[in-house]
């Protein structure tokens, strides 16, 4: 009994070690990229939606094929996250080489269809950049799109004036020309880091 115990024990010891090594390695591989944003290649489905544009027209993902697309969920009454993010995105895009700017498209999806009419949405996105595409839809359509990208939104109770806060994703989803999900830009990234990522992505397969 005692004679083969150490041999057994050693082989048992190996397993946790292999497990730990796997965890550490996969952790490293996940971070192993030159992107500032989070690499989400293969984690999410490709870009697909059918929503309403700012002139009331139907816009689908294929209408914008061949461009780098930045998808962002928000609402026009948003006090902090949305204006900051849209400002950052438009600055980053304006700082790109001119030929790449026209191939990069920001999509702002309002998840507050009750207040954000297409007209109101149009005024809002134009304030940041004429090239931003404002999109909205009815709540089930928006829920479906949010679910597809593993995010959600919720409404607070309205105050006396009927104003209410909307909780939504604070990240920007970046899709490449083929519509594949590539990067997740966290809100703490700087304008310059976003610019570098977008240039690298635009040059990659142009």
């Amino acid at each position: 009994m005692n004679s083969h115990f150490p041999a057994n024990f050693r082989s048992w010891l190996n397993l946790p070690l292999i497990l730990i090594a796997t965890i550490v390695l996969s952790g490293c591989l996940g971070e192993d990229s030159s992107w500032h944003g989070k690499d989400i290649q293969g984690l999410m489905p490709e870009l697909a939606f059918e929503l309403t544009g700012t002139s009331g027209e139907t816009v689908t993902a294929s209408d914008l094929d061949g461009q780098i697309r930045l998808l962002f969920f928000g609402f026009t009454s948003c006090p902090d996250v949305c204006p900051t993010t849209l400002q950052k995105l438009s600055q980053a895009i304006k700082a790109m080489p001119p030929e790449l700017q026209s191939q990069t498209q920001t999509l702002f999806v309002s998840v507050d269809p009750q207040r954000d009419t297409p007209e109101r949405l149009a005024r809002y996105v134009d304030f940041f950049d004429k090239r931003i595409v404002g999109l909205t839809g009815n709540e089930p359509e928006l829920r479906e799109l949010a679910k597809r990208y593993r995010t959600t939104f919720g409404y607070d109770e309205p105050d006396a004036d009927g104003n209410y806060a909307v909780s939504h994703s604070s990240a920007v989803y970046v899709f490449d020309r083929d519509g594949k999900a590539r990067l997740l830009l966290r809100p703490d990234l700087s304008t310059d880091e976003i610019r570098q990522d977008l240039i690298a992505l635009a040059r990659e397969n142009s």
Partner: protein, 280 residues
């Protein structure tokens, strides 16, 4: 929202629904058709069904939605999938039902299932089972892995299923109804030792999450919460759920095994006589 919205799956998975239906159907058929003497009592049957339905509930109802967008609900989901559900299922002792079906499968299928049995016996080695039980919790809570698992639908399903299957393996090893004096099942001392052993790393992990000043799991921040809640509060409650209930379940498990060991004390003399022979 109507009741149907709460009961219906948030993210429907045909494979998951089918698996649960098959488990309940096989169990129900076995219980009804087996000889009176072997049949588990009402209490045991209810315990089994409760365990199964708890796991189903956290996977295929509105609960799953909150698990995806709140860290503390996610910890509650894993508490049920990895601990409470399998704990109840193993405790209900479905062995007679498993025997009932085992006697009815053809010899050819039994031969084909041999590799499964081999893998099963490997996974049920005490050290491997303990390492796997704790390792999986650490693996899915490793921040970069956790981030990916919450972003990818496939990884999310793999995560939840791996937790459930490992929970079933582990608690079955602990609550194996066959007495170690009469079968090759694990000795009661070793079972209690394992329960105490796996509690410690879980308590450490829970405490690390509870006492972390910064955001450890920012994916819930990035992807939006189900309702506006202070992120630090969410993480704190999630850490407490990782820390306290699993430790309590280890102690509960030890008490149950201790009771069984005391009941069997002096009942079977096979082991003690063999020891006497070797020492004399």
């Amino acid at each position: 929202m109507s009741i149907i919205d709460y009961v219906a799956p948030y993210d429907f998975s045909a494979l998951t629904v089918l698996s649960y239906m098959l488990v309940l159907a096989f169990y129900g058929y076995g219980v009804l058709r087996m000889p009176e003497g072997d049949r588990p009592g009402t209490g045991r049957t209810m315990t089994f069904i409760l365990g199964v339905m708890l796991c189903y509930g956290v996977m295929q109802t509105r609960f799953d939605y909150y698990s995806q967008y709140m860290f503390f609900v996610h910890r509650g989901q894993h508490l049920i999938l990895h601990h409470l559900g399998p704990f109840l299922i193993a405790l209900s002792n479905p062995l007679p039902v498993m025997r009932f079906w085992y006697d009815r499968i053809s010899p050819g299928l039994k031969g084909a299932l041999q590799p499964v049995g081999f893998v099963y016996r490997g996974l049920q080695q005490p050290l491997i089972a303990s390492a796997l039980f704790v390792g999986l919790i650490y693996f899915w809570l490793w921040p970069p892995i956790h981030f990916d698992a919450m972003l990818s639908r496939n990884l999310y399903w793999i995560m939840n299923w791996s937790m459930l299957l490992d929970g079933l393996l582990f608690w079955w090893l602990i609550f194996d109804p066959r007495s170690p004096a009469l079968s090759s099942s694990l000795g009661y001392g070793k079972r209690m030792l394992i329960l105490a052993l796996v509690a410690i790393p879980q308590m450490i992990l829970g405490a690390i999450i509870v006492f972390s000043r910064g955001m450890v799991y920012d994916v819930y921040e990035v992807c939006g919460r189900a309702w506006p809640m202070e992120p630090a509060t969410d993480q704190l409650i999630g850490g407490l759920i990782t820390w306290i209930p699993p430790a309590m379940m280890s102690i509960l498990g030890i008490l149950i095994i201790l009771r069984r060991a005391m009941h069997e004390d002096g009942k079977y003399s096979t082991r003690s006589t063999s020891i006497k022979v070797t020492t004399s």
